[in-house]
Protein backbone atom coordinates (compact mmCIF):
# COMPACT_ATOMS: atom_id res chain seq x y z
CA UNK A 1 0.00 0.00 0.00
CA UNK A 2 1.20 3.52 -0.86
CA UNK A 3 1.43 5.84 2.15
CA UNK A 4 1.42 9.62 2.17
CA UNK A 5 0.84 12.52 4.53
CA UNK A 6 -1.69 14.32 2.34
CA UNK A 7 -3.78 12.99 -0.55
CA UNK A 8 -5.58 15.56 -2.70
CA UNK A 9 -8.38 14.22 -4.92
CA UNK A 10 -9.00 16.49 -7.94
CA UNK A 11 -6.48 18.71 -9.73
CA UNK A 12 -8.68 21.70 -10.51
CA UNK A 13 -7.60 25.13 -9.27
CA UNK A 14 -8.60 24.29 -5.67
CA UNK A 15 -6.87 20.89 -5.49
CA UNK A 16 -3.65 21.94 -7.22
CA UNK A 17 -3.37 24.97 -4.94
CA UNK A 18 -3.99 22.81 -1.85
CA UNK A 19 -1.36 20.31 -2.98
CA UNK A 20 1.14 23.07 -3.72
CA UNK A 21 0.83 24.76 -0.33
CA UNK A 22 0.80 21.46 1.57
CA UNK A 23 4.01 20.41 -0.20
CA UNK A 24 5.54 23.83 0.34
CA UNK A 25 4.83 23.43 4.05
CA UNK A 26 6.88 20.24 4.13
CA UNK A 27 4.25 17.50 3.84
CA UNK A 28 4.52 14.47 1.56
CA UNK A 29 1.73 15.04 -0.97
CA UNK A 30 -0.01 13.06 -3.70
CA UNK A 31 -2.32 14.94 -6.09
CA UNK A 32 -4.55 12.88 -8.36
CA UNK A 33 -7.07 13.48 -11.11
CA UNK A 34 -9.10 11.14 -13.27
CA UNK A 35 -8.55 13.31 -16.32
CA UNK A 36 -6.08 12.45 -19.09
CA UNK A 37 -5.25 16.11 -19.40
CA UNK A 38 -5.50 18.41 -16.39
CA UNK A 39 -7.69 21.41 -17.27
CA UNK A 40 -9.47 19.74 -20.18
CA UNK A 41 -12.33 19.76 -20.98
CA UNK A 42 -12.86 23.15 -19.40
CA UNK A 43 -16.15 23.77 -17.57
CA UNK A 44 -15.89 27.47 -17.14
CA UNK A 45 -16.28 30.97 -18.60
CA UNK A 46 -12.76 31.71 -17.36
CA UNK A 47 -13.35 35.10 -15.70
CA UNK A 48 -11.17 35.74 -12.68
CA UNK A 49 -10.30 38.74 -10.48
CA UNK A 50 -6.78 40.14 -10.36
CA UNK A 51 -6.44 39.51 -6.64
CA UNK A 52 -6.36 35.78 -7.43
CA UNK A 53 -2.69 36.08 -8.34
CA UNK A 54 -1.82 37.71 -5.01
CA UNK A 55 -3.49 34.78 -3.26
CA UNK A 56 -1.56 32.37 -5.49
CA UNK A 57 1.67 34.30 -4.96
CA UNK A 58 2.21 34.05 -8.72
CA UNK A 59 2.70 36.62 -11.47
CA UNK A 60 -0.08 36.75 -14.06
CA UNK A 61 1.43 35.00 -17.09
CA UNK A 62 0.53 35.89 -20.71
CA UNK A 63 0.50 32.16 -21.51
CA UNK A 64 -2.80 31.77 -19.72
CA UNK A 65 -4.34 35.22 -19.83
CA UNK A 66 -6.35 35.98 -22.94
CA UNK A 67 -7.85 39.35 -22.08
CA UNK A 68 -7.78 42.10 -19.50
CA UNK A 69 -11.28 43.26 -18.59
CA UNK A 70 -12.13 46.96 -18.38
CA UNK A 71 -15.76 46.82 -17.33
CA UNK A 72 -19.18 45.24 -17.49
CA UNK A 73 -22.33 45.77 -19.51
CA UNK A 74 -25.61 44.74 -17.89
CA UNK A 75 -28.48 44.11 -20.29
CA UNK A 76 -32.19 44.00 -19.40
CA UNK A 77 -34.65 41.77 -21.28
CA UNK A 78 -35.82 44.66 -23.54
CA UNK A 79 -32.22 45.47 -24.48
CA UNK A 80 -31.79 48.50 -22.23
CA UNK A 81 -28.21 48.41 -21.05
CA UNK A 82 -26.06 49.82 -18.30
CA UNK A 83 -22.32 50.21 -18.96
CA UNK A 84 -19.95 50.27 -16.01
CA UNK A 85 -16.47 50.71 -17.48
CA UNK A 86 -13.12 51.75 -16.06
CA UNK A 87 -12.83 54.85 -18.24
CA UNK A 88 -15.96 56.35 -16.64
CA UNK A 89 -16.02 54.93 -13.16
CA UNK A 90 -13.65 53.27 -10.79
CA UNK A 91 -14.42 49.57 -10.67
CA UNK A 92 -13.68 47.94 -7.33
CA UNK A 93 -12.44 44.69 -8.80
CA UNK A 94 -10.96 44.30 -12.24
CA UNK A 95 -10.12 41.03 -13.84
CA UNK A 96 -8.86 38.78 -16.59
CA UNK A 97 -10.20 36.10 -18.87
CA UNK A 98 -8.03 33.02 -18.54
CA UNK A 99 -7.19 30.14 -20.84
CA UNK A 100 -8.08 27.56 -18.23
CA UNK A 101 -6.73 24.56 -20.08
CA UNK A 102 -3.31 26.18 -19.74
CA UNK A 103 -3.89 27.78 -16.33
CA UNK A 104 -5.09 24.60 -14.57
CA UNK A 105 -2.14 22.66 -15.94
CA UNK A 106 0.21 25.41 -14.81
CA UNK A 107 -1.18 25.28 -11.26
CA UNK A 108 -0.66 21.51 -11.16
CA UNK A 109 2.91 22.03 -12.38
CA UNK A 110 3.51 24.50 -9.57
CA UNK A 111 2.34 21.80 -7.13
CA UNK A 112 4.69 19.31 -8.81
CA UNK A 113 7.59 21.75 -8.55
CA UNK A 114 6.97 22.11 -4.79
CA UNK A 115 7.38 18.34 -4.51
CA UNK A 116 3.85 16.97 -4.85
CA UNK A 117 3.60 13.65 -6.68
CA UNK A 118 0.99 13.91 -9.47
CA UNK A 119 -1.03 10.94 -10.70
CA UNK A 120 -3.18 11.60 -13.76
CA UNK A 121 -5.83 9.31 -15.25
CA UNK A 122 -6.28 8.10 -11.68
CA UNK A 123 -9.79 7.95 -10.27
CA UNK A 124 -10.79 7.66 -6.61
CA UNK A 125 -13.37 4.86 -6.37
CA UNK A 126 -14.15 4.82 -2.65
CA UNK A 127 -12.61 5.20 0.76
CA UNK A 128 -12.24 3.54 4.12
CA UNK A 129 -11.56 5.11 7.51
CA UNK A 130 -8.81 3.27 9.40
CA UNK A 131 -8.62 2.70 13.17
CA UNK A 132 -5.82 5.29 13.47
CA UNK A 133 -8.07 7.89 11.83
CA UNK A 134 -6.28 7.92 8.47
CA UNK A 135 -8.10 7.35 5.17
CA UNK A 136 -7.42 4.60 2.66
CA UNK A 137 -8.61 5.51 -0.82
CA UNK A 138 -9.14 2.94 -3.53
CA UNK A 139 -7.80 4.23 -6.83
CA UNK A 140 -8.02 3.03 -10.38
CA UNK A 141 -5.53 3.89 -13.10
CA UNK A 142 -5.86 2.24 -16.51
CA UNK A 143 -7.28 -0.98 -15.19
CA UNK A 144 -4.98 -1.21 -12.19
CA UNK A 145 -6.65 -0.94 -8.78
CA UNK A 146 -4.60 -0.02 -5.71
CA UNK A 147 -4.90 1.73 -2.33
CA UNK A 148 -3.36 4.95 -1.06
CA UNK A 149 -3.33 5.62 2.68
CA UNK A 150 -3.24 9.26 3.80
CA UNK A 151 -3.13 10.95 7.18
CA UNK A 152 -5.10 13.83 5.67
CA UNK A 153 -7.51 13.61 2.75
CA UNK A 154 -8.39 16.77 0.83
CA UNK A 155 -11.54 16.46 -1.28
CA UNK A 156 -11.22 18.88 -4.20
CA UNK A 157 -13.24 16.79 -6.63
CA UNK A 158 -15.42 19.61 -7.94
CA UNK A 159 -19.20 19.73 -8.20
CA UNK A 160 -19.56 15.92 -8.27
CA UNK A 161 -18.10 15.82 -4.81
CA UNK A 162 -18.07 12.09 -4.14
CA UNK A 163 -15.40 12.35 -1.45
CA UNK A 164 -17.66 14.39 0.86
CA UNK A 165 -20.51 11.92 0.43
CA UNK A 166 -18.29 8.86 0.97
CA UNK A 167 -16.90 10.44 4.13
CA UNK A 168 -20.42 11.24 5.37
CA UNK A 169 -19.90 15.01 5.61
CA UNK A 170 -22.94 17.27 5.51
CA UNK A 171 -21.97 18.76 2.19
CA UNK A 172 -24.70 17.89 -0.29
CA UNK A 173 -25.78 20.47 -2.85
CA UNK A 174 -29.56 20.66 -3.11
CA UNK A 175 -30.94 20.58 -6.67
CA UNK A 176 -32.25 24.14 -6.24
CA UNK A 177 -28.67 25.24 -5.57
CA UNK A 178 -27.00 23.49 -8.50
CA UNK A 179 -26.78 25.73 -11.53
CA UNK A 180 -26.89 23.85 -14.81
CA UNK A 181 -24.24 25.59 -16.87
CA UNK A 182 -23.55 25.46 -20.58
CA UNK A 183 -21.45 27.48 -22.98
CA UNK A 184 -20.10 27.78 -26.51
CA UNK A 185 -16.65 29.17 -27.17
CA UNK A 186 -17.17 31.03 -30.45
CA UNK A 187 -15.37 33.03 -33.11
CA UNK A 188 -16.82 35.71 -35.45
CA UNK A 189 -18.49 37.36 -32.47
CA UNK A 190 -19.36 41.04 -32.85
CA UNK A 191 -18.92 42.53 -29.41
CA UNK A 192 -19.27 46.28 -29.05
CA UNK A 193 -16.16 46.19 -26.89
CA UNK A 194 -13.99 43.12 -26.60
CA UNK A 195 -12.69 44.11 -23.16
CA UNK A 196 -16.08 44.24 -21.43
CA UNK A 197 -18.04 41.39 -19.85
CA UNK A 198 -21.71 41.30 -20.87
CA UNK A 199 -24.50 39.94 -18.67
CA UNK A 200 -28.09 39.42 -19.90
CA UNK A 201 -30.79 38.95 -17.27
CA UNK A 202 -34.36 37.68 -17.19
CA UNK A 203 -36.22 34.85 -18.88
CA UNK A 204 -33.22 34.29 -21.16
CA UNK A 205 -31.79 32.22 -18.26
CA UNK A 206 -34.14 31.56 -15.29
CA UNK A 207 -32.20 31.47 -12.02
CA UNK A 208 -29.03 32.70 -13.71
CA UNK A 209 -27.90 34.88 -16.59
CA UNK A 210 -26.55 34.71 -20.13
CA UNK A 211 -22.93 35.90 -20.38
CA UNK A 212 -20.47 36.95 -23.04
CA UNK A 213 -16.86 36.82 -21.82
CA UNK A 214 -14.45 37.97 -24.54
CA UNK A 215 -11.24 36.01 -25.14
CA UNK A 216 -10.08 37.87 -28.24
CA UNK A 217 -11.25 40.55 -30.69
CA UNK A 218 -13.87 38.18 -32.14
CA UNK A 219 -13.61 35.25 -29.71
CA UNK A 220 -16.10 34.86 -26.88
CA UNK A 221 -17.28 32.43 -24.22
CA UNK A 222 -21.06 32.68 -24.67
CA UNK A 223 -22.87 30.75 -22.00
CA UNK A 224 -25.61 30.61 -19.43
CA UNK A 225 -26.61 28.90 -16.25
CA UNK A 226 -30.12 28.06 -15.09
CA UNK A 227 -31.75 26.54 -12.05
CA UNK A 228 -33.63 23.56 -13.52
CA UNK A 229 -36.59 23.97 -11.09
CA UNK A 230 -37.22 27.45 -12.50
CA UNK A 231 -36.73 26.46 -16.12
CA UNK A 232 -39.03 25.22 -18.88
CA UNK A 233 -36.49 23.54 -21.11
CA UNK A 234 -32.94 22.25 -20.98
CA UNK A 235 -29.98 24.57 -20.52
CA UNK A 236 -28.84 23.64 -24.03
CA UNK A 237 -32.13 24.85 -25.55
CA UNK A 238 -31.90 28.13 -23.61
CA UNK A 239 -28.36 28.60 -24.90
CA UNK A 240 -29.20 28.01 -28.56
CA UNK A 241 -32.05 30.56 -28.30
CA UNK A 242 -29.91 33.10 -26.45
CA UNK A 243 -27.05 32.86 -28.94
CA UNK A 244 -29.39 33.17 -31.94
CA UNK A 245 -31.18 36.19 -30.46
CA UNK A 246 -28.09 38.10 -29.44
CA UNK A 247 -26.58 40.53 -31.96
CA UNK A 248 -23.00 39.71 -30.94
CA UNK A 249 -23.33 35.95 -31.39
CA UNK A 250 -26.01 35.32 -33.99
CA UNK A 251 -23.43 34.88 -36.77
CA UNK A 252 -20.68 33.50 -34.53
CA UNK A 253 -19.36 29.95 -34.95
CA UNK A 254 -18.79 27.52 -32.05
CA UNK A 255 -15.49 25.70 -31.62
CA UNK A 256 -16.30 24.14 -28.24
CA UNK A 257 -19.30 23.29 -26.12
CA UNK A 258 -18.73 23.22 -22.35
CA UNK A 259 -21.16 21.93 -19.74
CA UNK A 260 -21.08 21.63 -15.99
CA UNK A 261 -22.74 22.07 -12.63
CA UNK A 262 -22.05 25.08 -10.46
CA UNK A 263 -22.99 24.80 -6.75
CA UNK A 264 -24.34 28.16 -5.59
CA UNK A 265 -25.85 27.36 -2.18
CA UNK A 266 -23.08 29.04 -0.16
CA UNK A 267 -20.44 27.22 1.92
CA UNK A 268 -21.42 23.67 2.85
CA UNK A 269 -22.16 22.91 6.50
CA UNK A 270 -19.22 20.59 7.10
CA UNK A 271 -16.01 21.49 5.31
CA UNK A 272 -13.85 19.30 7.56
CA UNK A 273 -13.78 16.48 10.07
CA UNK A 274 -11.08 14.30 11.59
CA UNK A 275 -8.38 13.78 8.92
CA UNK A 276 -10.38 15.38 6.10
CA UNK A 277 -10.99 18.77 4.48
CA UNK A 278 -13.02 19.84 1.42
CA UNK A 279 -12.16 22.76 -0.82
CA UNK A 280 -13.34 24.42 -4.03
CA UNK A 281 -16.66 23.42 -5.60
CA UNK A 282 -16.71 20.32 -3.38
CA UNK A 283 -17.24 22.72 -0.43
CA UNK A 284 -19.44 25.08 -2.49
CA UNK A 285 -16.76 27.77 -2.31
CA UNK A 286 -18.52 29.64 -5.11
CA UNK A 287 -19.91 33.18 -5.24
CA UNK A 288 -23.68 32.49 -5.27
CA UNK A 289 -24.48 35.58 -7.32
CA UNK A 290 -21.90 35.31 -10.10
CA UNK A 291 -21.25 31.57 -10.00
CA UNK A 292 -17.52 32.36 -9.92
CA UNK A 293 -15.55 29.69 -8.08
CA UNK A 294 -11.96 30.04 -9.29
CA UNK A 295 -10.81 32.74 -6.88
CA UNK A 296 -12.70 31.36 -3.90
CA UNK A 297 -11.66 27.76 -4.68
CA UNK A 298 -8.03 28.85 -4.83
CA UNK A 299 -8.45 30.72 -1.53
CA UNK A 300 -9.96 27.63 0.11
CA UNK A 301 -7.31 25.39 -1.45
CA UNK A 302 -4.49 27.53 -0.12
CA UNK A 303 -5.88 27.48 3.42
CA UNK A 304 -6.49 23.72 3.24
CA UNK A 305 -2.93 23.08 2.05
CA UNK A 306 -1.40 25.31 4.70
CA UNK A 307 -3.46 23.83 7.54
CA UNK A 308 -2.71 20.28 6.32
CA UNK A 309 1.05 20.97 6.38
CA UNK A 310 0.82 22.41 9.91
CA UNK A 311 -1.24 19.43 11.10
CA UNK A 312 1.34 17.00 9.71
CA UNK A 313 4.16 18.97 11.31
CA UNK A 314 2.62 18.90 14.80
CA UNK A 315 1.26 15.38 14.34
CA UNK A 316 -2.36 16.33 15.02
CA UNK A 317 -4.86 15.67 12.22
CA UNK A 318 -7.89 15.76 14.49
CA UNK A 319 -11.08 17.65 13.85
CA UNK A 320 -10.07 19.99 16.64
CA UNK A 321 -6.91 21.00 14.83
CA UNK A 322 -8.46 21.18 11.36
CA UNK A 323 -11.19 23.51 12.64
CA UNK A 324 -8.64 26.22 11.94
CA UNK A 325 -9.30 25.66 8.22
CA UNK A 326 -13.03 26.17 8.63
CA UNK A 327 -12.43 29.34 10.60
CA UNK A 328 -10.06 30.80 8.01
CA UNK A 329 -12.47 30.12 5.14
CA UNK A 330 -15.56 31.44 6.92
CA UNK A 331 -13.75 34.59 8.04
CA UNK A 332 -12.45 35.17 4.54
CA UNK A 333 -15.60 34.57 2.48
CA UNK A 334 -18.50 33.55 4.71
CA UNK A 335 -19.96 37.00 5.12
CA UNK A 336 -19.81 37.86 1.40
CA UNK A 337 -21.39 34.54 0.47
CA UNK A 338 -24.39 35.17 2.72
CA UNK A 339 -24.81 38.62 1.26
CA UNK A 340 -24.56 37.50 -2.37
CA UNK A 341 -26.84 34.59 -1.74
CA UNK A 342 -29.59 36.94 -0.51
CA UNK A 343 -28.95 39.31 -3.41
CA UNK A 344 -29.47 36.56 -5.94
CA UNK A 345 -32.62 35.27 -4.25
CA UNK A 346 -33.95 38.76 -4.90
CA UNK A 347 -32.57 39.12 -8.41
CA UNK A 348 -33.93 35.77 -9.59
CA UNK A 349 -37.37 36.67 -8.19
CA UNK A 350 -37.78 39.60 -10.62
CA UNK A 351 -39.72 39.17 -13.84
CA UNK A 352 -38.72 40.72 -17.18
CA UNK A 353 -40.85 43.87 -16.67
CA UNK A 354 -39.33 44.56 -13.28
CA UNK A 355 -35.83 44.10 -14.66
CA UNK A 356 -36.62 46.49 -17.53
CA UNK A 357 -37.86 49.13 -15.06
CA UNK A 358 -34.68 48.89 -13.07
CA UNK A 359 -32.56 49.26 -16.21
CA UNK A 360 -34.62 52.32 -17.26
CA UNK A 361 -34.07 53.97 -13.88
CA UNK A 362 -30.34 53.30 -14.14
CA UNK A 363 -30.23 55.29 -17.41
CA UNK A 364 -30.67 58.55 -15.50
CA UNK A 365 -27.94 57.94 -12.98
CA UNK A 366 -24.39 59.05 -13.53
CA UNK A 367 -22.08 56.74 -11.70
CA UNK A 368 -18.65 57.97 -10.82
CA UNK A 369 -17.76 55.36 -8.28
CA UNK A 370 -19.31 51.97 -8.14
CA UNK A 371 -19.54 50.99 -4.53
CA UNK A 372 -22.23 48.43 -3.91
CA UNK A 373 -23.97 51.16 -1.91
CA UNK A 374 -24.50 53.37 -4.99
CA UNK A 375 -25.83 50.43 -6.95
CA UNK A 376 -28.25 49.38 -4.26
CA UNK A 377 -29.46 52.94 -3.71
CA UNK A 378 -30.24 53.20 -7.42
CA UNK A 379 -31.95 49.85 -7.28
CA UNK A 380 -34.13 50.85 -4.37
CA UNK A 381 -35.19 54.01 -6.15
CA UNK A 382 -36.24 51.98 -9.15
CA UNK A 383 -37.75 49.07 -7.31
CA UNK A 384 -38.88 49.94 -3.78
CA UNK A 385 -39.51 46.30 -2.93
CA UNK A 386 -35.75 45.87 -3.11
CA UNK A 387 -35.37 48.17 -0.11
CA UNK A 388 -36.83 45.58 2.20
CA UNK A 389 -34.72 42.75 0.97
CA UNK A 390 -31.40 44.38 0.18
CA UNK A 391 -31.25 47.62 2.13
CA UNK A 392 -30.28 46.07 5.42
CA UNK A 393 -27.60 43.95 3.85
CA UNK A 394 -25.66 46.49 1.86
CA UNK A 395 -26.27 49.97 3.23
Amino acid sequence: MIKTDVLVIGAGPAGSTAARFAAKGGAKVILMDKKSEIGSPKRCAEGVSKKTFDILELEADPHWITREIEGVRLVAPDGTDVWLTNDVIELPEAGYILERKVFDKHLAMEAGREGAEIRIKTQAKGLKKEADGSYTVTCECMGEVYDINAKILIGADGPESHVAKWAGLKAITKPKHMESGIQFEMCNAKMERSDVLEFYFGSVAPGGYFWLFPKGDDIVNAGLAIIPEMAEKSAYEYLVDAVNNCYATKDAQPVEINVGGDPVGGLVKEMYNDNIMLCGDAASQVNPLTGGGITSGITGGKYAGQVAAEAIKVGDCSKKFLKKYDKLVREDMGHDMDKYSKACDYLWSLDDDELNNIAHAFQDIEFTTIGTTELVKALIKAQPKAALKLGKLFL
Binding site: S36, R43, Q123, K125, I182, P228, S234, G260
Partner: protein, 55 residues
Protein backbone atom coordinates in the same frame (compact mmCIF):
# COMPACT_ATOMS: atom_id res chain seq x y z
CA UNK B 1 -33.50 1.92 -15.95
CA UNK B 2 -31.42 4.99 -16.72
CA UNK B 3 -30.50 5.60 -20.31
CA UNK B 4 -27.43 7.76 -20.94
CA UNK B 5 -27.56 9.37 -24.37
CA UNK B 6 -24.36 9.35 -26.35
CA UNK B 7 -24.14 13.15 -26.29
CA UNK B 8 -23.40 13.10 -22.54
CA UNK B 9 -20.18 15.00 -21.90
CA UNK B 10 -19.34 13.54 -18.47
CA UNK B 11 -19.46 16.86 -16.64
CA UNK B 12 -20.73 15.32 -13.38
CA UNK B 13 -23.52 17.83 -12.74
CA UNK B 14 -25.95 14.90 -12.36
CA UNK B 15 -23.67 13.14 -9.87
CA UNK B 16 -23.46 16.31 -7.80
CA UNK B 17 -27.20 16.41 -7.11
CA UNK B 18 -27.74 12.69 -6.46
CA UNK B 19 -28.32 12.34 -2.71
CA UNK B 20 -27.74 8.62 -2.92
CA UNK B 21 -24.34 9.17 -4.52
CA UNK B 22 -25.00 6.51 -7.12
CA UNK B 23 -23.55 8.05 -10.25
CA UNK B 24 -19.91 7.33 -11.00
CA UNK B 25 -18.49 9.71 -13.60
CA UNK B 26 -15.60 8.21 -15.52
CA UNK B 27 -13.73 10.13 -18.19
CA UNK B 28 -16.02 8.81 -20.91
CA UNK B 29 -18.68 6.74 -19.13
CA UNK B 30 -21.41 7.13 -16.53
CA UNK B 31 -22.10 4.22 -14.22
CA UNK B 32 -25.30 4.04 -12.12
CA UNK B 33 -25.24 1.73 -9.11
CA UNK B 34 -28.07 -0.36 -7.69
CA UNK B 35 -29.00 2.21 -5.02
CA UNK B 36 -30.71 4.40 -7.63
CA UNK B 37 -34.39 4.80 -6.73
CA UNK B 38 -35.23 6.53 -10.03
CA UNK B 39 -36.18 9.80 -8.36
CA UNK B 40 -35.28 11.71 -11.54
CA UNK B 41 -33.42 14.60 -9.92
CA UNK B 42 -30.32 13.95 -12.03
CA UNK B 43 -32.43 13.88 -15.20
CA UNK B 44 -33.61 17.45 -14.55
CA UNK B 45 -30.14 18.70 -13.64
CA UNK B 46 -28.45 17.68 -16.90
CA UNK B 47 -27.64 20.74 -19.06
CA UNK B 48 -27.73 18.59 -22.20
CA UNK B 49 -30.88 16.55 -21.49
CA UNK B 50 -28.71 13.45 -21.83
CA UNK B 51 -30.49 11.27 -19.26
CA UNK B 52 -33.75 9.43 -19.63
CA UNK B 53 -35.59 7.15 -17.21
CA UNK B 54 -37.19 4.19 -18.92
CA UNK B 55 -39.84 2.07 -17.25
Amino acid sequence: MMIVKDWCSYCGCCAGVCVRNCIEVKETALVFDENCNECGICVDACPLAALELEE
